[in-house]
């Protein structure tokens, strides 16, 4: 198995792991981490695909991944800020909201997260 194929498969594996974690974990921090794992998997696949045949790799996918990393950093910053606001407003760092859409801030913090 060539290195390129190994990188590509590893990237696909990261995407799968990240997707799984995004679905099964409730805690927002874990969901944000899962999205970042998916992102890194995508970047790995794209970089691996840049090496076409022997010689110098194609620079365009590298530029794409650099842009993607910048986007991922800013998106993660927004997601973290929003997660803090969700926890402050609802008392819990999860997405669960009562069906009528009026979440009451609960006194206890079941996850034990400190402010």
């Amino acid at each position: 198995m060539s290195a390129v194929v190994a990188y590509g498969l590893a990237g696909a594996g990261l995407v799968a792991v990240g997707l799984y974690a995004l679905v099964v974990h409730e805690h927002l921090l874990r969901k944000i981490l899962a999205i970042n794992v998916v992102g890194n998997g995508v970047f790995l696949v794209i970089v691996a695909a840049a090496q076409r045949g022997p010689g110098v790799p194609d620079p365009v996918p590298h530029a794409m991944v650099l842009t993607g990393i910048v986007v991922a950093v800013s998106a993660t910053a927004l997601a973290l800020a929003l997660a803090v606001r969700v926890r402050d407003a609802t008392g819990q760092p999860r997405l669960a909201v009562p069906a009528d859409g009026t979440a009451e801030p609960s006194a206890g913090r079941p996850d034990g997260a400190a402010r």
Binding site: L22, I35, V38, L82, A89, V97, A103
Partner: protein
């Protein structure tokens, strides 16, 4: 003829709102004034582009003079021009409304007003950039810009429901964009170009191309909220401030749908199997019925309108079975694009009038608006007019759009889609009249005085009238759509054969 045909309008549809967003952020105290002025300028620029494409044909502009494949080109054909024009008209209405909606000088109101304008103009920038970009990777950047500014706008409401809705919206949006990026990476590996026209010129390799387009479709379907991926849309759209809800439902979901049309009709029509078209159409049909039923049973007024969006998005996906790979597909193509425009104006009008109603209503339940027709006659007229277009009654834009889709279904021998169209119209009528029945319930005593700003009432009515006018200018719109259209054929106004 010199004049407009020689002017370079294309880059300005992106540059004007972007400069305005920066200016509104820096001049925070005057954000509302700056925002309204820039909104007017952006709308004029966008409509000028549509006029230029209609008179002088498709426009292409190499940013910085580099040119594809090295540089990132801007390109506007009839479809792009119509999308930019739609953004201009809805954006102008929402901006007038926003100026009257975010009032107050202290605390949360001041905060909302200061941040609404830069974020909304940034969202406008992202929409225009997405509609005119000729580069599929640049489309990823604009998708992310669109998603991040939309999430921040939802979170402006700062209620627990809005923050949770925004968080879910962000996670789904990021996943959708990452899948799109993965697809673009695979597409580049297969075709060695990112330019839409270069991609369209050569057929994609069957295996690698199919995987790339499949991943792109998955990401975009998630972002367009096609059933069963609609779960994130109602909480986000129903909990945002009213002008934001209007923009999200009218424009933002159309952006990812626009990209789906670009990929399936321009880049890879040769990959379209009948099974894929029928599957996308089937999911759309389920969305029409499911969204309609949920809108009919929803307790809160804004959820009724949000589920109506789920249903209307379903209609749009009928473009795949009705136009993709069909000879004379232009009837279905034109019907779907007209429906995008009709839904944008009507749904924006509906969310704006609901926002005005809720400012006067007892509570946000559907039964809480009893008697509001006495207090807010103009707003209720706007709501009803928008509802008429959503149902698809003549002579509105919604009627012409559904009529074309109906004819396309019969002309291509796919009668089952005609049943979906009729069922969806009945459901739309039911949920619209359910709201109107409550609004026109007379309360005892004198009607309460109108407590609503004129800007709120008349901007909503203007957009509802725009949905109506669309029905009268449909032939001009379809003529513009022919510029660079991927399908040909006559517009079938009645069933042939």
């Amino acid at each position: 003829m010199s004049g407009l045909a020689d002017l370079v309008v294309l880059p300005w549809v992106v540059a004007v709102p972007l400069a305005g967003a920066v200016l509104a952020f820096v001049l925070r105290r005057h954000a509302s004034t700056v925002g309204q002025a820039v909104a007017l300028a952006s709308a004029v620029t966008g409509l000028a582009l549509a006029f230029q494409v209609a008179t002088a044909g498709a426009q292409r502009h190499a940013v910085g003079g580099w040119g594809a494949p090295l540089g990132i080109d801007l390109y506007a054909d009839g479809l792009s021009a119509l999308m930019v024009a739609m953004t201009s008209i809805v954006g102008l209405g929402v901006s007038v409304y926003g100026a009257s909606y975010f009032v107050g000088t202290q605390g949360a109101a001041e905060h909302q007003r200061a941040y609404f304008w830069p974020l909304w103009l940034l969202l406008w920038t992202a929409l225009n950039a997405l509609f005119v970009t000729a580069d599929v990777f640049n489309a990823y950047v604009t998708l992310e810009l669109l998603g991040l500014s939309a999430v921040a706008l939802v979170a402006l409401a700062a209620t627990p429901a809005a923050l949770t809705g925004a968080m879910r919206y962000l996670l789904v949006g990021l996943l959708g964009s990452l899948l799109y990026l993965l697809g673009v990476g695979l597409l580049y590996a297969a075709a060695a170009t990112l330019d839409v026209q270069q991609l369209a010129a050569a057929p994609l390799p069957a295996g690698a191309g199919a995987v790339a387009i499949g991943v792109i479709t998955a990401g975009l379907v998630l972002k367009t909220a096609l059933f069963p991926f609609h779960f994130w849309l109602p909480p986000a759209h129903a909990s945002a401030p009213a002008p934001v809800s209007a923009v999200l439902s009218a424009l933002v979901v159309k952006a990812s749908f626009y990209l789906l049309m670009r990929f399936w009709f321009y880049v890879a029509p040769e990959l379209a199997l009948a099974a894929i078209s029928q599957l996308l159409g089937l999911l759309g049909a389920v969305a029409v019925v499911w969204g309609g039923l949920r809108a009919l049973t929803a307790e809160r007024l804004k959820l009724v309108v949000a589920y109506s969006t789920v249903a209307q998005i379903g209609y749009l996906f009928l473009v795949f079975p009705l136009a993709l790979g069909q000879a004379d597909g232009f009837t279905g193509w034109g019907g779907a694009v007209l429906l995008v425009l009709a839904h944008a104006t009507a749904k924006a009008a509906m969310f704006l009038s609901v926002g005005a109603i809720l400012k006067a209503a007892a509570h946000d339940g559907v039964s809480g608006i009893d008697g509001t027709a006495q207090a807010l006659p103009v707003t209720l007229f706007a709501f009803a007019l928008a509802g008429v277009s959503l149902i698809g009654l003549p002579p509105t834009g919604g009627f012409v759009a559904k009529w074309l889709l109906l004819n396309a279904a019969l002309a291509t021998g796919q009668w089952w889609w005609a049943l979906v169209l009729i069922a969806g119209s009945l459901l739309a009528a039911a949920y619209t009249f359910r709201v109107l029945a409550h609004a026109f319930t007379r309360l005892p005593g004198d009607p309460p005085p109108c407590r609503c700003a004129r800007g709120l009432e008349w901007s909503a009515l203007s957009l509802a009238v725009a949905a109506l006018v669309l029905g009268f200018v449909a032939s001009e719109v379809l003529e513009l759509l022919r510029v660079g259209a991927p399908v040909t054929g006559p517009v079938l106004l009645e069933r042939v054969r």
